[in-house]
């Protein structure tokens, strides 16, 4: 039944909420309030810029931390605590469980991000008294952050299927950093003469998830337009890459003997 992942997803969301994960919003709100007030005092013509840059960077950072730290335990915890014993005796397929956990964490991140975006909007309103048409690109930037989080969550979940939370965290953070600098890998390949290095860096560039694709914070804070085509492409990219990771995770988990 296609409802199975949904059941697991709702429960995963409920767990996050009860784990007081959403309390990070309090800290975020305090930070945005502080920034808005501070910037209001200084007023050197960059107040909007600072609010948007700070807000978007914080949304991205908080989201990443949450995606990684909850993600690496998603499957591991259930295997360790043996809550899976009773769960898997129900008529649910193992891949449905994976999809459900993923959707649940993504839902948590989505809710968290939405609330934070509202916070940024309020702060922006406070410093500049009105919205501008170009502010819609801030929403695009937030959407891109969500796409990025979708991939990072899938990455953490994948590792969670077979490795301890500490190692999974290291792997995920490592791949995230590599993905942020993957364009530079390509540069090294272009600058070198060695054909082997050229080939390897090219392969690495395409195989590693390219997180730089989603970085439009600069554009958004300056109010530059973000083309529709890029939005479509990034959506497709996130979908495809997450699918790869989820299929991998489901395959690994389906073959696993539980302790």
């Amino acid at each position: 039944m296609s409802a199975m992942p949904g059941v697991v997803a709702v429960n995963t969301f409920r767990e996050a909420v009860r784990d007081r994960v959403l309390y990070n919003l309090v800290f975020f709100a305090l930070m945005m309030i502080g920034a808005a007030i501070l910037v209001g005092q200084i007023s050197i013509g960059i107040d909007r810029l600072v609010i948007v840059n700070l807000g978007l960077s914080a949304i991205s950072a908080f989201g990443l931390v949450m995606a990684i730290f909850i993600g690496v335990g998603l499957i591991y915890k259930e295997m360790e605590k043996r809550t899976l014993y009773s769960l898997l005796s129900k008529p649910i397929r193992r891949w449905q469980f994976i999809v459900g956990k993923y959707a649940g964490l993504l839902l948590t991140l989505f809710v968290n991000t939405c609330l934070m975006t509202i916070g940024v909007a309020i702060a922006l309103l406070y410093v500049s008294r009105s919205f501008e048409r170009s502010d819609v690109y801030i929403l695009v930037a937030v959407y891109f952050i969500l796409l990025k989080l979708a991939i990072v969550t899938a990455l953490a979940l994948f590792f969670s299927c077979f490795s301890t939370p500490m190692l999974s965290t290291l792997f995920t953070i490592g791949i995230y950093l590599a993905g942020m600098f993957s364009t530079d890998f390509l540069n090294i390949g272009m600058v070198t003469q060695n054909p082997a290095v050229k080939a390897i860096t090219r392969i690495l560039y395409y195989v590693l998830p390219n997180f730089h694709n989603f970085d439009v914070i600069g554009q958004a804070s300056h109010g530059f337009a973000i083309p529709l085509q890029l939005i479509a492409q990034n959506t497709l990219y996130a979908l495809l890459y997450s699918a790869i990771l989820l299929v991998g995770a489901a395959a690994v988990f389906s073959g696993r003997n539980l302790k």
């Binding site: 090294i188 300056h222 083309p227 495809l240 790869i244 299929v247």
Partner: protein
């Protein structure tokens, strides 16, 4: 062992995942071209403040410096073959890289040549001088960048007084070649001259480790050779005119008049030709270029 066959998902994923990866590659290419367009209009958004970036880099400044240096080279290399010769980001990129890592000698050296050059560079010798001076301040015992300052004053700014002073400073560095003393003296007395230019470019050609700079030095040396050849040919053409009342049409005529032994070829192997005004020129097919801004012999 036989357990694996119970996991049909393993087979499914073995097929699906490569297919998805191929799609990913395709989409990534699309994104790259989109972002190139995007980033063209937002080139300005690179963090251009070195000190700010240093603080943001949380202690990994040297690594970040390397990355910016690579980006600078890639930026230059990407723009060079295109008709867009606007290298306005080169100076900020190099500045950031060297602020993050003040000992990044290759960056100063590269900047000395390609920030100052008009044809294949940013055309800003003033920025190049600023960069090199920064490099000397941070690396006082490095002969290469010290000599690069002399190069800039002599070759690009034609400020012979400052050039001589710079080469003198270079000669004081322990282990520096005697050549720099000689250069300082000659520039001080003669100013700009073909033989001095040749000495300077030869020194660069021999000591540089940067492929681009080496290429540039070779081109310059070829240009200098051609320049000197042309000077000689012009002199011969004048002699011919004095003898025969007209300027020669080709170098063959000079050979027939027993004024030279063989057809002279330029460093690329093309024979020199004569223009309508009787001045010798390079064959239009030749890839040798004479730097119009180079000091001409007095």
């Amino acid at each position: 062992m036989s357990e694996r066959h119970r996991n049909p998902l393993a087979w499914v994923s073995a097929i699906i995942v490569p297919v998805l990866l191929v799609c990913v590659v395709a989409v990534q290419r699309g994104i790259d071209s989109q972002r190139n367009i995007l980033e063209k209009q937002s080139d300005e958004l690179l963090i251009q403040s070195g000190p700010l970036l240093k603080r943001l880099s949380l202690g990994y400044d040297a690594l970040l410096g390397d990355i910016y240096w690579t980006r600078a080279v890639q930026y230059y290399g990407a723009k060079l073959p295109t008709s867009d010769r606007d290298f306005h980001l080169l100076a900020p990129l190099l500045d950031v890289a060297t602020t993050l890592d003040p000992n990044l000698i290759p960056a100063y050296h590269f900047g000395a040549f390609f920030l100052s050059e008009k044809q294949g560079g940013a055309g800003r010798p003033d920025l190049a001088v600023d960069l090199v001076k920064k490099g000397i301040a941070a690396n006082p015992n490095n002969t290469q960048i010290s000599a690069d300052l002399g190069f800039l004053y002599y070759m690009r700014l034609k400020d012979y007084e400052k050039a001589a002073a710079a080469y003198l400073e270079t000669s004081k560095i322990p282990g520096a070649s005697q050549l720099f003393k000689v250069l300082a003296a000659r520039i001080a007395s003669k100013g700009g001259a073909l033989d001095i230019s040749r000495m300077i470019w030869s020194e660069v050609y021999e000591t540089t480790r940067d492929e681009q700079v080496k290429k540039r030095a070779l081109e310059a040396l070829k240009g200098l050779k051609a320049q000197s050849d042309e000077m000689q040919l012009d002199q011969l053409a004048d002699d011919y005119h004095a003898r025969f009342g007209r300027y020669p049409q080709s170098t063959r005529e000079l050979v027939d008049a027993a004024m030279i032994k063989g057809i002279p070829l330029d460093p690329d192997g093309f024979p020199y030709v004569f223009g309508a005004d009787g001045k010798s020129q390079l064959d239009p097919k030749s890839t040798v270029t004479i730097d119009p801004g180079a000091p001409a012999p007095k």
